[in-house]
Amino acid sequence: MAGHGQLLSPCKNLEEDLVLFHYGELPAPEHFSLEQHLSGCANCTAYLKDLSALMPLTIKADDPPETFWLDYNRELRHKIAATRDKSWWSAKFGAFFQPRLLTAFGAIAVIAVALTLTLGKGVWQSRDLPREDEALMEVLPMAEDLDFFKTMDVLDNLDVLEFMASPEGAA
């Protein structure tokens, strides 16, 4: 490595081909024509040399010891076993918590509550109240109605009132 840090620019239109050439990915026809170009182009040749020198530097080897792989296998087996147990429980009980079933259960609950409130209203009232209270409940509106009927009596006598207000009546 020279370390001077000066880079020569390759032919702009060939830069991508040079990268593919470096990695052996350039198809045969282009590969051949690029080789011909390289024999007469110092910049493109230098570019390829740069890639050959620099790209391997980016690779970092890691070669873990045998014990690492033994731990690796053991840990993975535990994780898989835990996942399998979890999925067994999910299969057994998870069905109850599926979104579709939850929606269905919710809908059924709402319908049940609505039906109970609609149809069971009278049944609950008669069951909840003692007989004496029931009688009282029937009498109370009647008492209120009596006042009303008293008012109605006055209204029935409207003819008398009109007569009393008239000059004949006053006389």
Binding site: L7, V19, L51, L54, M55, L57, D62, Y72, L76, I80
Partner: protein
């Protein structure tokens, strides 16, 4: 005759655990090394590659064989690695450089004795390279790591990244150009 991945997958889908363990045995080293390329940390690489195997195990029944197991599995792994990178970006307290400092010393060509000067230079190069790789956009970095480090073909990378081969070539070219400029001092 060695059983193919497809047969092992079929057996594993039927609940044969040994078949799945054989798949793990076949792919664990490559999976680990891909994960290591992304995270540069031995423990994290182990966790990421194991997580990929777990995901594969859980979703094995959904694998329909339209792509090869190899492609399907490494797609899971690469996605996990990219998620790892995103998580790392969100939590700046987990210093990537710090992790590298600790890890690289033991992971870099472990058996070769070096002089102090060589060690200093290797450390400088390592830091510079890591910074340059970190600076790459995710897709460029992925294409570059899979090509330069793992030696996958452009076609395989395109399948893993679920993109066109032309797009992979563009990502690779941009990554190489950026790295060449970042590492110019070592030429």
């Amino acid at each position: 005759m060695r059983t193919g991945d497809e047969e092992l997958v079929a057996a594993a889908q039927e609940g044969n655990q040994q078949a799945f363990e054989e798949l793990v045995e076949r792919h664990k080293q490559k999976a680990y090394h891909i994960a290591f390329d992304f995270c540069r940390d031995r423990e994290d690489a182990k966790d990421l590659s194991q997580e990929a195997f777990l995901k594969a195990f859980v979703n094995l029944k959904k694998f329909d064989g339209r792509s090869s197991f190899y492609t399907w599995f490494y797609r899971i792994l690469v996605n996990l690695c990219l998620d790892y990178k995103r998580r790392l970006k969100r939590s700046p307290t987990d210093s990537f450089d710090e992790t590298l400092e600790n890890q690289m010393e033991r992971s870099h060509e472990p058996n070769r004795p070096r002089s102090p000067d060589q060690q200093v230079l290797a450390g400088q190069i390592s830091r510079k390279v890591d910074a340059a790789l970190q600076a790459l956009p995710a897709k460029q970095r992925t294409a570059f790591l899979l090509k330069n480090h793992q030696g996958l073909s452009i076609k395989e990378i395109a399948e893993l990244m679920q993109t066109a081969e032309g797009t992979v070539k563009v990502h690779l070219h941009r990554a190489v150009t950026a790295l060449r400029h970042s590492l110019a001092e070592f030429v």
